[in-house]
């Protein structure tokens, strides 16, 4: 007897369907694992008024999501804001993973707000509870800057004291500044050679104090130029600097009793563009070969290009800027360099007026104050680190506090 196995025609398709479903569910499950796992929301969201402002900023702080641990779970935070009593939350900003602070700069004084923070993950957002209400308020005084205010007041008081002291005719000792002593020599050289003087007031506008310092020195230089009857050439990169410089030179010529010798073409506008200006000034130097070049004001990458071109034509060069990064270039390429504060002291120094010299003396008080703070800070920090001692720790922290400016 032959036994034959009965075939099951439906079994194979059913198995295939089952296998397909298993694969399908596995792939769907895998997709959910990659993108759909929720993360814990941030907690303890606290909103507060930003201190010492016009009531236009509010701070939001929160406790990080417990899944914000450096893994790929939390990819950031989104901050939402609504008016008190409203459920209409709008997004006001984002924060990176690990950040638990946000400054909302778009709020109105006297209006109440609430916040909530969402932890962002690849599949969505996980919202915190709503924060406390905050009402931004206007503060009259920025107490964060009290240290700056007191230090500024001390320096200003010493400057004013020495100005009034000098007014009474008391003699003040001011050290010689080589770069300023050389101005006479430089202008004299231009006179002897019959060549012009080139004056560059930097590439910033009149809202930069360095440009103002340059223009005040221009007043003194122009007076000597007018006295010696030589030519001054001043290409500028800002229109307002052009008009101010013209007025300054015009007044200097009038002061020297030679108003008719003044010519508007002494100062000319070239371009606002940094390297276009450099190209024009370099061309003027090479063509006109000035005997003396002054670079007094705010300079950036163009400083060395200008100074080296001036050096190549054999001009006496006097430079001065308050850009620390450009000072080495000027020192290397120029004959004399006014370093930082010397640029600001120049006009007072050249005027030889007691009142102006008094302000320089007041500046020295500020320098002494800085030196004392630095010495006390260094000693107290060194002793507290090496041997401890509560007094030195307190002193070191105190010095650190008074010399740190908070916003």
């Amino acid at each position: 007897m032959t036994v034959t196995r009965k075939s099951k025609p439906f079994l194979t398709p059913i198995i295939l369907v089952l296998v397909f479903l298993v694969f399908l569910s596995a792939s769907l499950f895998a997709q959910e694992t990659a993108s759909g796992i929720s993360v814990a929301p941030p907690a303890n969201v606290v909103a507060s008024d930003f201190n010492y402002d016009r009531g236009e900023q509010a701070e939001v702080r929160w406790k990080l999501s417990s899944d914000d641990n450096g893994s790929a779970g939390v990819i950031g935070y989104e901050i939402f804001r609504a008016g008190v009593g409203s459920e209409d939350f709008v997004s006001v900003g984002l924060a990176l993973p690990g950040e638990s602070y946000f400054l909302d700069k778009d709020v109105q004084k006297g209006v109440g707000y609430v916040y909530k923070v969402a932890a962002l993950y690849s599949g969505g957002q996980s919202f915190s509870d709503v924060s406390n209400a905050v009402i931004p308020e206007l503060e009259m005084i920025n107490w964060n800057l009290l240290n700056l205010f007191i230090i500024g007041l001390l320096i200003a008081a010493s400057v004013i004291y020495f100005i009034s002291h000098a007014k009474k005719g008391r003699k003040l000792f001011i050290r010689k500044i080589a770069g300023l002593e050389a101005i006479d020599e430089a202008i004299g050289r231009a006179t002897e050679m019959g060549r012009p003087i080139l004056f560059i007031p930097g590439i910033n506008d009149m809202d930069d104090v360095q440009t103002i310092a340059g223009i005040t020195i221009l007043g003194r230089v122009a007076r000597m130029v007018a006295d010696y009857d030589i030519k001054i050439n001043m290409p500028v990169s800002r229109s307002i600097v052009m008009t101010t410089a013209r007025e300054t030179i015009k007044e200097a010529y009038a002061g020297a009793g030679r108003p008719d010798a003044y010519n508007d073409d002494m100062v000319r506008y070239v371009t606002d563009e940094q390297f276009g200006y450099v190209a024009a000034v370099d061309g003027i130097m090479v063509r006109e070969k000035p005997a003396t070049c002054f670079y007094l004001g705010a300079f950036f990458a163009e400083s060395l290009i200008l100074a080296e071109t001036g050096n190549s034509i054999g001009a006496i060069q006097i430079a001065g800027t308050a850009q620390p990064a450009q000072l080495p270039f000027f020192v290397a390429a120029c004959d004399y360099t006014l370093i930082g504060e010397e640029l600001f002291a120049a006009s007072a120094y050249l005027s030889n007026e007691p009142k102006q010299l008094g302000s320089l003396k007041g500046q020295d008080i500020g320098k002494s104050l800085a030196m004392i703070i630095i010495i006390i800070g260094v000693i107290s920090a060194t002793i507290s680190r090496a041997w401890g001692g509560s007094f030195f720790i307190w002193l070191s922290e105190f010095v650190n506090k008074i010399s740190t400016i908070q916003n």
Partner: protein
């Protein structure tokens, strides 16, 4: 009157800008004054442009020395002005963005203006070499210190500097050239820079006070009261 009005303006603006730092209610006034400056600067721009045209057209008309450069300046000025104002070749027409892709203004900017600026900037590399050559000559004690410091820093930032002193034991690692270079930059160099910064800050305070109080009047063309 000619002197008193500018002095009064200087005093008011200076005082308000100082107060706005410490008193939040005055902050808006400080911002307004900065805005006034921008408005004045816009009007002054026409003065600058007018001066550029006048000086260069005069040089061309009188065939002064270097008048060819004035021709190039004038051509550049007017071509750029026309390309910007009339929005020539602008894909969006007269209503499109002045700097739209393919516009004449943008093409001139990308293919002429930018490369010329970059060329001037590139000159800096050659000037650094020539200035360094002069600055680093050991003419006296100060220049020698500068030379030695520069040599250590340059060497410390190359693989040769690491290789040359890698044999020095870890306990004397400060003597390894890369560490010496870091120490020079972070201690003596930084201390010097900070000293200059403090001096600058004090100089700015002193000069600002002179201007605000009317002690410094050179910019008005007068030395004293």
């Amino acid at each position: 009157m000619k002197r008193q009005v500018p002095l009064l303006i200087t005093f008011t603006v200076g005082a308000v800008l100082i107060l706005s730092t410490f008193f939040p209610p005055v902050e808006t006034m400080g911002e307004d004054f900065s805005l006034y400056f921008d408005i004045i600067a816009v009007f002054a721009f026409f003065l600058g442009g007018g001066n550029l045209i006048r000086v260069n057209s005069d040089a061309i008309a009188k065939k002064k020395k270097g008048w060819g450069f004035s021709m190039v300046t004038m051509a550049g000025f007017f071509i750029m002005l026309a390309a910007g104002l009339l929005k020539l070749w602008n894909p969006g027409g007269i209503r499109g963005d002045v700097a739209g892709t393919g516009s004449m203004f943008q093409l001139l900017y990308d293919w002429i203006f930018n490369p010329l600026g970059a060329t001037m900037y590139a000159l800096l590399a050659f000037y650094v070499a020539s200035a360094s050559y002069r600055a680093f000559r050991a003419k006296n004690r100060d220049a020698t210190i500068l030379l030695v410091a520069a040599f250590i820093i340059l060497l410390g930032r190359t693989p040769l500097g690491v290789y040359a002193t890698s044999w020095i034991p870890e306990s004397f690692s400060i003597l390894q050239i890369p560490n010496l270079a870091i120490w020079i930059m972070s201690s003596p160099n930084l201390a010097g820079q900070r000293a200059i910064m403090i001096g600058i800050a004090l100089g700015v305070v002193s000069m600002s006070l002179r201007l605000i109080l009317g002690v410094e009047r050179t910019y008005l063309g007068v030395d004293s009261e």
